[in-house]
Amino acid sequence: MNFFSYLLDPSHWSGSDGLGLHVAQHLLYSLIAVAIAALIGIPIGMLIGHTRRGNFLVIALANSFRAIPTFGLLILVVLLTDTSWIPVVCVLGVLALPPLLTSTATGILQADQQAVHAARAMGMSPGQVLGRVEMPLATPLVISGLRSATLQVIATATVGAYVPGFGGLGRPIMDGLRNGDYGQVLAGAILVAGLAILLDLVLSLIGRVTGRHLRFKPPRSAVVETTS
């Protein structure tokens, strides 16, 4: 298949316009975007979950976010600011915010209330309850939110290449489309799909490892208490 010749040609991998650089850029943009969203979304989600206030607002917000065409938002933000990579990464961060926010809030809301009551009875401060009990119990859900946020960002970062000067794996796709070089397009498409699946796998492994300690929560005592 000559379609794969571009991807398999070593000379297309290195250099200032090589696929290696595009993979690295794509990862970097995506990680920055997810990190920004996590720094904002997880603390707010923790607060909403812990205080049990504003959850309705978060769900409504997350649902309406789904209706926003990212491509349009991207162009709006780029036109309003400038064509550097920063506004593009910010739009990607906006995309990652709702899944992180909702999963953190839901994770804490669904944390075993027996454990939370026990922690309070032991004299833990609200901060300690949140940090030592609610957050560890919510971790699997937070990781699953991180997973969907990352996938969405990796997928959408390709669209960023519409903006001239923005790198990443959208670059070979867009350049290839423009020049009619479908081998180049396919190379970008395969790499971005592979990157998405690989990161999903890594995050699901992390989720499984962090969820493991939850086996040690006392399930039997909960059963005893509900029967009494």
Partner: protein, 214 residues
């Protein structure tokens, strides 16, 4: 916001909106028809069902732009053919909806199925008369998510040369002109939320017991 531009380009905006809706909604209808038998078959294959569901999840992780550009190579269609976008969105929507069908069918209580069997319902009659109607609220929830995200996603089609509301974004960017971008954004969001409302109304009309129960 340049209102004169909107008045002068009324026809073009309407055409873009129409193209957008065709590209976004045909996949929803196609996926709805496809996902019920697929979901049922996955539901029946008990041991491998979770593996198949994981594959559906993986399909959803393929970036849309990648799928849009790879499909012409797989289908043998021309890169500018709107069918590429329709097929790509149908694949996404079917993966998402089949999952909802499986979840919905799994939620049907065992005692309800046993009651239907006891009354003498056959397999086919039980599926259409009992299992499917009880699974419908979950399927409708999936349908709403799929429709809203399809409408938001479709504007990317312009990157592979298929016109939609994305045409307005493209035009605005190339001319450094904000009005078409605002018009495209607002229309896309309004249409997505309106479609969501329409599905909700259809659900209320066809599944009156859901409202009573909740």
């Amino acid at each position: 916001m340049n209102w004169r531009w909107i008045a002068e380009n009324y026809g073009m905006i309407g055409t873009a909106l129409g193209q957008h809706l065709v590209l976004a909604l045909i996949p929803v209808l196609a996926a709805f028809v496809l996902s019920i038998p697929i979901g049922y078959l996955v539901f029946r294959t008990r041991s491998v069902a979770n593996a198949i569901l994981a594959i559906f999840g993986a399909i959803y992780s393929i970036p849309s732009l990648a799928l849009f550009v790879v499909l012409p190579l797989a289908l043998g269609t021309k890169i500018l053919n709107p069918l590429n976008v329709i097929v790509a969105l149908t694949i996404y929507t079917t993966a998402l909806l089949s999952r909802s069908v499986v979840d919905g069918l799994r939620d049907v209580p065992a005692d309800v199925k046993q009651s239907a069997d006891a009354i003498g319902y056959g397999a086919v009659r039980r599926f259409f008369g009992v299992d499917l109607p009880l699974a419908m609220p979950v399927i409708f929830a999936g349908l709403r998510v799929a429709t809203v995200s399809n409408i938001a996603l479709t504007s990317i089609s312009v990157l592979i040369g298929t016109p939609s509301l994305g045409t307005l974004f493209d035009q605005g960017f190339n001319q450094g002109f904000l009005t078409p971008v605002w018009v495209g954004l607002i229309l896309s969001i309004v249409v997505a939320l309106a479609a969501d409302l329409v599905i909700l109304i259809i659900q209320r009309g066809t599944l009156p017991w859901v409202r009573r129960a909740s």
